[in-house]
């Protein structure tokens, strides 16, 4: 059922009236949330941003799920990147030391090689992800939207929303 809901969410987002930048913004926030520790303060901050910024929440939710899986796969890369920044590079040590001794900041666990590496990976990916998402939405809406809207599965999925709603009410 969760899988169906996720597929339905994707089509709902694609077929919705939200602007491409709203969707891309949601994906960007989802990217950071997926690459951050689940219970870290940075995730709370991102959640606040998600609610207050005019971005698509559903796209952020789907992106969080997708990028969490990707982040887990990229853990070894993230560790190497974090190790290079935290351990190997001595010139950054004063910066990390200052951060480490600031209030609240240590709760982000930035001093963990995987956490910092994942954050840096997210930073690297965020701009391309925003532009690619926006471009994809525009292309989709221009060329596929009408045709996809007529496909039986998509219609069925649209109907599923109503059915699920009735079932939940019952």
């Amino acid at each position: 059922m969760i899988g169906l809901r996720a597929v339905k969410s994707v089509f709902t987002i694609l077929q919705s009236e939200n602007s491409p930048m709203q969707i891309a913004g949601g994906v960007a926030i989802g990217l950071f949330m997926g690459f951050s520790p689940f219970n870290g303060p940075q995730n709370y901050l991102l959640m606040i941003l998600l609610f207050f910024l005019n971005v698509n929440v559903a796209s952020a939710t789907v992106a969080t799920a997708l990028f969490s899986g990707l982040a887990a796969l990229l853990d070894p890369v993230a560790h190497k990147l974090g190790f290079a920044l935290l351990v190997s590079n001595d010139s950054l040590t004063p910066f990390w030391t200052a951060l480490y001794n600031l209030p609240v900041v240590p709760f982000t666990r930035f001093n963990n090689t995987v956490v910092l590496g994942s954050f840096v990976l997210a930073l690297i990916l965020v701009i391309p992800v925003i532009f690619l998402t926006r471009a994809f939405i525009l292309y989709y809406r221009a060329h596929w939207r009408e045709r996809v809207g007529k496909v039986g599965v998509v219609k069925w999925l649209s109907g599923l929303n109503t059915a699920l709603g009735i079932k939940e009410k019952l």
Partner: protein
């Protein structure tokens, strides 16, 4: 007609309508943390504890009080990974007063903490072993097998196993009396199996052979022929008549020939003498034969003892096997403790600006700053507890203690962690001092323990039938463990006193023997030492236990054993006596026969030499007399001639 693409709705950057739901969500998160933080903290502490100790950790309750920021933990029990049915440590409650400001920087600084109801080694009702997945996580965090500490721990483990395997089986000793008392010697000693008899027969044969060999050698010298060959020369010499100097001159050659014959006979005599000496040496003395037979009798006795499975009474490994595993397990516990302390309170060099610690995902890198407290610090931890508890024997001793400067960064703090625990109650004294100094480049961990008047059973010596009932005994010990870098040094001085022999019981021979064994032994002194590194670890263990038990068991069982041995020897002697007499008779005959033959031959040669010498002397004397007579006649004639010439001259 082109499908009409709906225009996106125009919206601002901020979504004010979500402010309320967001506030509600944040409020819910905060409320969740407020109400469920205790549960989360409890779960986190359990997980961290299990990961650190490799065994189950249980916490009955945990309460974080926001008003004074204090944490109270109750009913904590951490199982012992090496013995999952006991707790490594447990305590009733702990209260930590947390400083609020450092918390904002994720620093847990506690000025004062207290811990009550501390106990260790108590019995558990359920196993404290971790499920396999968690054990794997724990194992991944242990010192690598090829690291100095890993090698040291592995060496201690294998050494303990070896020591334990050296424990002699009680069954063997139990057999001593049973075997002896139920031993039947009937039919055990069979003449055909006795090596003594076989050897006696062989020696007898050998003596006969030797006598034959010497007779042959005597014959090979051909003495009779050589003596006979001299006879013509002797006869010729004897038959000579020497009346004049001419005869004497003629006899000289014959005398010379006779003297050569004498020399030949003397050479023959020399050969005979040599043969005699060789025979005497070869036959040796009868005493040596007796000695050889006695040695074979001892061998026969040993073989028969082995056949009867008469036990040996060696106890040399007793201390090692009895105390070794216990001692090494204590040393291993200390190394484990030091290793854990070094993992969570890592030593670092002054120049190191960061400390790298492995975590489940990646590494945590700390960036300490001078003058800023470490990430974790308990300045003072006061504790109370007891040496007793479920499953522990003896009267417990209540103690109080103080631990200072427990920190995640000892170098930054600049102070070692110290612990002092003291307890004294009704003559029972307990004292523990520990210094974990990780402030220098090379960490040094020291733990000193001493105790007096404790129940001997609290030592948890391995269950052994050798030991008396320790319930009534007491123990006093003093031990010190030091791990400097990866070099270990540990020593123990212990005295077990007030030991009482176990009840003899009725009808059980083993119990009677055990009671008899320990009778009068009421004190045992033990010393143990371990020194070195993982690749070169020296262990020494000593006590008066080996001597005490060995002497006593020998005294108890040795007499009976000697009786059995004497009986066996008597049986052997019975069969060997006739054979021995036969051997000695044969030996005497062979030896005297061989030597007698040589001696008589020597006599005949000597007689012949004497006869020739006598003849030579006679003929020499006769020749001399003939020469002298002729000389005198010549002188007389010359004198007479001279007188006549004088007469003619003056007579005119």
């Amino acid at each position: 007609m082109e499908p009409k693409t709906p225009k996106p709705k125009k919206t601002g950057v901020i979504r004010w309508k979500y402010a309320l739901p967001a506030a509600i969500v944040i409020g819910l998160v905060l409320a969740f943390n407020y109400f469920f933080l205790d549960a989360l903290l409890k779960r986190g502490l359990i997980m961290a504890g299990e990961l650190a100790l490799g065994a189950k950790v249980e916490i009955a309750s945990l309460k974080l009080k926001w008003s004074d920021l204090s944490l109270t933990v109750r009913g904590v029990a951490a199982a012992n990974k090496d013995n999952p049915m006991t707790n490594l440590v447990e305590f009733e409650s702990a209260r930590l007063a947390i400083k609020p400001l450092p918390l904002l920087s994720k620093k847990l600084n506690i000025e004062e903490a207290s811990l009550t109801g501390l106990r260790w080694g108590t019995e558990r009702k359920t196993s404290g072993a971790l499920p396999p997945a968690k054990q794997k996580s724990y194992a991944a965090r242990l010192a690598p097998a090829d690291s100095p500490t890993g090698k040291l721990l592995a060496k201690l483990e294998t050494q303990a196993e070896t020591e334990w395997q050296a424990l002699p089986a009680w069954d063997n000793i139990q057999k001593v009396k049973n075997q002896i008392s139920s031993l039947s010697l009937e039919g055990v000693v069979k003449p055909e199996n006795l090596e003594t008899l076989k050897q006696a027969e062989a020696l007898k044969q050998e003596a006969q052979n030797k006598a034959g060999q010497y007779r042959q050698k005597l014959q090979n010298l051909d003495v009779a022929a050589k003596v006979q060959a001299v006879q013509p020369a002797l006869e010729e010499l004897k038959g000579m008549q020497i009346r004049s100097a001419q005869d004497a001159a003629a006899a000289k050659d014959k005398i010379d020939t006779a003297q050569r014959k004498i020399q030949e006979l003397q050479a023959l005599q020399g050969q005979l003498q040599q043969l005699k000496a060789q025979a005497e040496s070869d036959f040796g003395q009868a005493a040596s034969l007796t000695q050889k037979l006695n040695e074979w009798k001892e061998k026969d006795l040993a073989a028969l003892s082995s056949q009867l499975q008469l036990p040996s009474l060696s106890f040399e490994n007793l201390t090692r096997s009895l105390v070794g595993p216990l001692w090494l397990s204590r040393v291993r516990q200390f190394v484990d403790l030091a290793n854990t302390a070094r993992r969570y309170m890592p030593p670092r060099k002054e120049k190191d600006k960061k400390v790298v610690q492995p975590r489940l995902h990646g590494l945590d890198v700390s960036f300490p700053l001078a003058q800023v407290p470490p990430a974790f610090l308990i300045q003072k931890l006061s504790l109370t507890g007891s040496t007793g508890g479920p499953g522990k024997t003896g009267e417990p001793v209540d103690f109080v203690g103080l631990v200072t400067n427990i920190t995640s960064d000892p170098r930054l703090l600049g102070l070692p962690t110290k612990a002092e625990i003291k307890g004294a109650q009704s003559g029972r004294v307990y004292d523990v001092t520990a210094v974990l100094d990780h402030t220098a480049d090379v960490p040094k961990d020291t733990v000193a323990l001493s105790a007096q008047g404790l129940a001997a059973s609290s030592l948890h010596l391995p269950s052994s039938d050798y030991m008396p009932n320790l319930a009534a005994g007491q123990v006093a010990f003093s031990s010190r463990f030091t791990l400097q870098g990866d070099e270990l040094e540990a020593d123990l001085q212990a005295a077990l006193s007030g030991l009482k022999p176990p009840a003899a019981g009725t009808g059980d021979e083993a119990k009677k023997l055990l009671a008899e064994l320990w009778q009068g032994v009421n004190r045992v002194n033990l010393q143990a030492k371990v020194k070195g590194r993982g690749d070169d670890l020296q262990l020494s263990l000593s006590s008066d236990l080996d001597r005490l038990l060995g002497d006593r068991l020998k005294a108890m069982a040795g007499e009976k054993l000697a009786e059995v041995r004497a009986k066996l020897m008597a049986e052997i002697n019975k069969y060997a006596a006739a054979k021995q007499k036969e051997l000695l008779d044969q030996y005497g005959l062979s030896k005297s026969g061989a030597l007698g033959d040589i001696t008589s031959t020597q006599g005949s040669v000597q007689d012949k030499i004497a006869a020739i010498q006598k003849a030579v002397q006679e003929k020499q004397a006769a020749a001399q007399q003939a020469v002298d007579q002729q000389k005198k006649q010549a002188e007389d004639q010359a004198k007479q001639k001279a007188q006549e010439q004088l007469k003619n001259l003056f007579g005119k």
